[in-house]
Amino acid sequence: MTLLTLNKLTVRRGACPVVDAASLNITAGECVGLIGPNGAGKTSLLRGALGLLPYEGQSSLAEMPPKARAATAAWLPQKREIAWPMSVERVVALGRLPYLARGASLSDEDQKAVDAALDRMGLQSFRARIATQLSGGEQARVLIARTLAQDTPLLMADEPIAGLDPAAQIATLDVFKTLASEGRAVFTSLHDLSLAARYCTRLIVISAGRIAADGPTDDVLTKDMLADVFHLRADIVNTPSGALIEPLGVLS
């Protein structure tokens, strides 16, 4: 089942297109990694696809009414914000907002989704803690749990593992992989190429606003691509647990 279709999506900042005629499909069961250098347009592509930025072209998500969109795709922005001193459980429960009638309290089903999200992110022991008093990495995990509580077929995340410790990075990507194997889809931007190689079923490479490559991870991750897009001289070592990318130097 196709969960997101972009057809020639263009996002402009001023006159300059930061995303230039991007077309892609995301189907259920995939864990798609969006990679590219800083300023390539990863965030703009994701936000444009959700309709959070003015765009041209077509995006199946952005064309949905807001409520239906919120039930289809959960969005984890790059900027991690928890404005008020709420408990972890309350923050995670905000993911249930699209399903709640005005002024209604959490139903049993909502509570179950919240508990499952806390479980998945290993936050059960944190549930009563005040979220704003946690460390940055812990807050990041709380916010990921919030998107999980939204319980949508598609999860879109902008650099979800930036700033997490190695174990938390792997745990988070494990959760994404499990989501994909359960028949959902994950579309996430990330910078760690080795983790992208190991956890994503498919990679989309974006360079200067254009989609430079889109395909199965092994086909996309080549020395030529790393040189062209990332200006990186790197070794790709195939290990039993997946490809390992060893950056060696910068190409000028």
Partner: protein
């Protein structure tokens, strides 16, 4: 729910005290009878035409300021925000000052509040024009500060040009804020407008909860930020504009009350909305009681007492929470 109960009891206690404490010592039973129009004609007048409008206005003004303060802080995700930030109260005050200065205020009983309301409405129009239909919250604050500053400057100009010292002192006293010597006509003028404002603000809870996660996340949760913003501006203008129009400038309520109650509302903006509304009403009622009890002969002004209570409370709060803020 415990919070709701406590605030409700507090507000009702203040409301009752406000009705039965005053310059004329009236026993509670006589006062209660007077309130419903039976007994001594003088007592009926005191209860129905002096104490009831004063009490109602104090409660309404407090409710408006508390509610608008909580909504504004929730929207801007900043505990320093207050309803005056968008320039509504400054503009309403300017309208009132012009009415006083030109003598228009004396032409009929509601002349002053009506002028103030017109100016409050104009301020919101101006801010919407400046900030644009899709402007960010930063543009909104800047536009509000600009409008406030301009209204402040024009208010000073009106004072500067006031024809005689009596007019100037009348303006200054009005600006200090008070609910004394108001009639039920003031209540009837303010109530429908405030009511609309309350309705607009009280239904913001969901959107403000979602905004805890930032504007992007809130929008992805299905919240329309432009609708939220328009509703907030309209609600604040109606509630705070009407409050300033009938009671003058009463500061600190919109800033301090949400701040005090936030921890009891467990940080949730939607809970804080109604909690601040009740808390604001209780606080203004209490301040108005203090006005009557501390110096009954000296016509102490509500706004002055509010600031004198509010500022140390705020200092205490900063002292207590400085570790959390750091």
């Amino acid at each position: 729910m415990k919070l709701f109960g406590a605030l409700m009891v507090g507000t009702l206690a203040m409301f009752t005290a406000s009705l039965f404490v005053g310059y004329a010592a009236i026993p509670v039973s006589t006062g209660l009878a007077g309130l419903f129009g039976s007994g001594d004609a003088l007592i009926v007048t005191v209860m129905q035409d002096i104490r009831l409008p004063r009490t109602l206005l104090a409660a309404m003004v407090g409710l408006s300021l508390g509610l608008a303060g909580a909504a504004m802080q929730g929207f801007l995700r900043n505990p320093l925000a207050e309803p005056g930030l968008i320039g509504v109260s400054g503009s309403a005050a300017l309208g009132a000052v012009i009415a006083l200065q030109s003598g228009f205020a004396a032409s009929f009983i509601l002349a002053l509040p009506l002028t103030a309301l017109v100016f409050a409405g104009a301020a919101v129009g101006l801010i919407l024009l400046l900030a644009g239909p899709r402007g960010s919250s930063l543009t909104l604050i800047l536009a509000g500060i600009a409008v406030s500053a301009f209204a402040g400057a024009l208010t000073s100009l009106a004072l500067n040009l006031s024809p005689n010292p009596y007019a100037a002192s009348e303006i200054i006293f009005w600006m200090m804020g008070s609910v004394a010597d108001r009639a039920m006509t003031h209540v009837w003028l303010a109530l429908p407008i405030m009511g609309l404002g309350w309705l607009a603000l009280a239904t913001l809870g969901r959107g403000l909860d979602a905004l805890t996660l930032g504007e992007d996340a809130a929008e992805a949760l299905g919240i329309s930020l432009s609708t939220l913003r328009t509703q907030l501006l309209f609600g604040t203008a109606a509630a705070v504009g009407a409050a300033t129009a009938v009671a003058g400038a009463v500061g600190f309520v919109g800033l301090v009350v949400p701040h005090i109650l936030r921890r009891f509302a467990e940080g949730r903006p939607s809970t804080l909305l109604w909690a601040s509304a009740l808390g604001g009403a209780a606080m203004v009622l209490a301040a108005d009681l203090a006005v009557r009890l501390i110096l009954p002969d000296r016509d102490l002004k509500l706004g002055v007492v509010m600031a004198i209570i509010g500022a140390p409370l705020f200092l205490h709060l900063i002292y207590k929470t400085r570790r959390e803020i750091a």
